[in-house]
Structures are given as structure tokens and as C-alpha cells.
């Protein structure tokens, strides 16, 4: 009995959203059918599904292209961002001098600079990765920098009193303290990498080289194939959710047992 309640509580975060989704889909289907909305204006979920199954091979190929760009960009952003955060942590002066440029990077719209990057970098795949990585970089830098700084001052004193070296303090204190911030950064950044990849593809796609999901959406738009457009859009969403869940899972695995933001039984 109690075990059943426990599993129900654990399942709520999944069952709830899924139930809402199903209700919305049914509502969508019913409203479109009743009002006889034309398929080229607003397709029904069943239309989208049949478009998805007929175009399965093309969509799968496009998904894998977008996913590949996204993951590469995400990886580049994580490695570079973490390295920059560690550099900032080494000295306040470095941080003070360079952080404004990280902000400039963040506030410059990727749509505005991606044409430039695509012209500068011959290989389209690399250009797309660079664009997406630029978008995904900032949350990693800012969160990890903040995390490396957000150390319990009492523990800093304890380490100092025990004559800990800089390296010992970094490995045993700063990095563990920074992990929750780092993982929060990962969650945001993974989504941004996807957005960056799609936006860059839109810009590059008109050049005829692209073959990712954004290119599919563009093509479907030209052909007024609205169900295909929705199907590609749905796939982007699915990739985004999968990335977010993967990052949450990773975060739970690494710090789930100790950090307050994860602990169920807070004191």
C-alpha cells in the first residue's frame, strides 16, 4: 500500500505532463475536425503523424544531422566554458578584464553573426558547430565561475587553517562546491546548443548545404507542406527534451545524494 503510494508519487512528474499532452492533442484533433480546418492552414495531429511516417527516412537523417551539430557544439562549449571559468578563477584581474567580453558574446544575436561565420569558415558543418557553441558557451562560463567562487567561507577557513595548498583547495573544495552550478549550466546550455544549431542551419540552409531539421522546415515551408513542417518541429522539441532529461539524469547521478536542490528530505 505504502509502496504503491511511493511509486505513484515518483511517477507523478511523468504521468502528469503526459496526461496534459494527451488531452491537448485530443482537443486539437477534435477542434480541427469539427471546424474543418484545411490541412495547409493547420493540420490535425493525425495528419502530422502520417506525414512523419511517410517521410521517416528523410526526417531521421535530418534529425541525426541536427543532433550531431548540437552535441558537437555542446561538447565544445562545455570544454571551452569550463576552461575559461577555471582561468577566471585563477585571478580576479583576469576575470575583471575578460568577463565583459563573455557578456558581449552572450548578448550578440547569433542570427546576426552566423552569416559572417558561415562565410569565414568554409566547411558548413564546422561553421554550424561554431555558431551553436557560441550560443551554448555563456551559461557554462557564468555558472561555473559563480560555482567556483561560491564556497562556504567556513570551509575556506578550515582549509586555510590546515595549510591546504591551492591545488588541494581547488580539487577538494572548489570543484565539488561548483558542481551543482556547473550542472545547472549544463541543463541550460544543452538547450541553447540545440537552438544555436537550428538557427545557424536556417541561415546556412538557404545556401543549399544544410540537411538538418531546420532545412526540412524551410523546404516544407516552400512547398506548403505544413504537416511535414510540424513533424520536423516536433522532432526538434523531442531532441530538446531528451537533452534536458539526460542532463538532469547526469546531474542526479553526480550530486543527487548531497546537494540541497536535489535532496528530498530537507532539514
Amino acid at each position: 500500500m505504502s509502496q504503491f503510494q511511493l511509486s505513484r508519487a515518483a511517477a507523478l512528474p511523468f504521468i502528469g505532463p503526459v496526461a496534459v499532452g494527451v488531452i491537448l492533442l485530443v482537443l486539437w484533433q477534435v477542434l480541427c475536425t469539427i471546424n474543418e480546418v484545411p490541412i495547409y492552414l493547420f493540420p490535425k495531429p493525425t495528419d502530422i503523424w502520417s506525414s512523419f511516417t511517410t517521410n521517416l527516412s528523410g526526417l531521421t537523417r535530418a534529425s541525426s544531422v541536427t543532433l550531431q551539430v548540437t552535441l558537437q557544439a555542446f561538447l565544445v562549449a562545455v570544454v571551452t566554458g569550463t576552461a575559461i571559468a577555471f582561468l577566471f578563477n585563477q585571478s580576479r584581474i583576469i576575470e575583471a578584464c575578460l568577463f565583459p567580453y563573455a557578456i558581449i558574446l552572450q548578448v550578440t544575436p547569433i542570427v546576426a553573426i552566423s552569416p559572417l561565420i558561415i562565410i569565414l569558415i568554409k566547411d558548413t558543418g564546422t561553421a554550424l558547430t561554431v555558431c551553436a557553441a557560441l550560443v551554448a558557451l555563456f551559461p557554462i562560463i557564468s555558472n561555473t565561475t559563480l560555482g567556483l567562487r561560491s564556497v562556504d567561507p567556513g570551509l575556506v577557513n578550515l582549509f586555510r587553517a590546515n595549510k591546504a595548498s591551492r591545488m588541494q583547495t581547488l580539487l577538494r573544495l572548489r570543484i565539488p562546491s561548483a558542481l551543482p552550478y556547473f550542472f545547472a549550466g549544463l541543463r541550460i546550455s544543452s538547450g541553447l546548443a540545440l537552438i544555436g544549431a537550428v538557427v545557424a542551419e536556417f541561415v546556412a540552409g538557404t545556401g543549399g548545404m544544410g540537411s538538418g531539421l531546420a532545412y526540412e522546415i524551410l523546404q516544407a515551408g516552400f512547398q506548403l507542406n505544413i504537416p511535414l513542417m510540424f513533424a520536423a518541429l516536433g522532432l526538434i522539441t523531442v531532441i530538446g527534451i531528451a537533452l534536458f532529461l539526460a542532463m538532469s539524469g547526469l546531474s542526479n547521478l553526480a550530486i543527487g545524494s548531497w546537494h540541497e536542490s536535489h535532496a528530498e528530505g530537507r532539514r
Binding site: 567556513g154 577557513n157 578550515l158 590546515n162 577538494r172 573544495l173 565539488p176 540541497e260 535532496a263
Partner: protein, 286 residues
Amino acid sequence: MQTMPQTVAATTIVGKEIPVKRVPVIEVKAAEKTFPNGFRALEPVDLTLKPGEFLTLIGPSGCGKSTLLGMMTNLLPASKGKLSWWGGGFEQTGTPGKTLSIVFQDATLMPWATIETNARLPLDLAGVPRPQAQERVQAALAKVGLAGFGGQLPRQLSGGMRMRVSIARALATEPDLLLMDEPFGALDEFTRNKLDADLLELWRERDLSIVFVTHSIYEAVFLSTRVVVMAARPGRISSIIDIDVPGPRDEEFRGSPRFAALCAELSRALHLASEESGNVSGGTKP
């Protein structure tokens, strides 16, 4: 006498050994503190901690107890004056016979590390081999009544248990000097009394000197061999009271007339100190 322990300063005259005079554990020489914002937290203080002493600092809030203790832990530099540890600078602490441990007001544990890892931290930082460190940590945890809790995480323990972990961490290094800032201040009276008794037991077992900050008159009288009463605004030493009790400090002592008399004496001294203390606005208005 080549194998003389380092803490002992021996004077040898040919053929005859004069009884050894041990160097003070800490000497505070006219140390004062003015914070960068200009706040004068501590007037020049002179204080000597003799080996084996249990010294307690007591006084109204803001009188500079933590400031003085901070200087003794070398975490807070003195603005003027000097401190020495075992007759030398701070850099030579941590060597055998000259190790010190600090216990803060809150447990200050790493939330991601197990109790065992937390208690082992000073040994790990000092590079003590793992098996040996592990053995010492187990012994220290057992001493504070936490044997078998080594694998737990800090948030799985109660506040009193966490505090005991931080004491075990301090003890695992087998220190010669313990510096404690209101270590049991946040605990209930029952737990505090228990931990006080345990602390006394540890102090008696070993050649250990302790500096202990507290707000409690009873705790000060129960624990210490000497009580330093401080006054505030500006922070300074108001008086020093010797707690000269030959017998054991136990529950019987807590109920004895001698205990009551000492508490009354300390209470008067504290009252005097708070009257000496300037008021917050910094002077009387006309």
C-alpha cells in the same frame, strides 16, 4: 637528553639537569585589531596560554572574542603587536608536538563527503597515508560516540552529531592545541553538558591545551582552569579569574557550593565588564 621533546625547553648545566620550563603554547603580545573599515575591535591584548591549560574567553557580544581567537588561529592577522606559537612563528606549527586544530561555531562539514571523509580531511591534507589516517579517524569517531556513522552524509545526522563530527575531525590530528569558538552554542543544554564532559575527558587524557569561547558562565566554570573576561567597545580584557578546583569536574562538582560560588564570582566580573563596556552609540548624550 638528545631525545627531548620539542615542546620542552631544557636548560642543562654540566652534570645537572634543571627542571624543564616549557614554552608557552601561545603568547599574545600587545596584539590589537582594527578592521579595514576603521572599526577598532580589540585594544592591545597580552595573554599567555600555558601548556595543558584550559582557557575560556567570555564576554558580551561583540567584545572581540572571535577576533582574538581568529588571531590565535592565524586566520585573522593582528593589526599591531605579535603572536607566537610554541615560541615561534605560525609556519612551524603542524609539526609533531606543535599541531593545532580549530572547531568553529557551526560544524563546517563538506556536504558532499561522508562523515569519515570529513573527519579525515586534515589528515588527507597533511598527506598522512590512508590506512593510518583511516585508523585514527575511526578512533576519533568512536571517541565522540559516532562509531558506525562513518559512511553517512552530514545531512543524515542531527545538529549535535554534526558538531561531534567536527570535534572528531579536530581530534583525529591528535592536536596539542584546540581552538574552539562557541562550539556548542547552538546545541540544547543536555547535549551541551554531555559534550562538555566528553571534552574534559579528552583534555585530561592527553597533554592538550584548549582555548574555548563561550557565552555560558556555567560552561566556563565547569570546563576551564582560567577564565578571561572581556569588555566591549573597544574590545579588551577586563579581568582574569582562576578556576582552582583540585577534584574531578563531574556532575557532583556541578552541584557543589564551590561551583555556585565560582559562578557568582564570574557573574560579578561579567557584570563589571559590561558596565565598563561603552554603549553602542559610543557615548552618553547630554
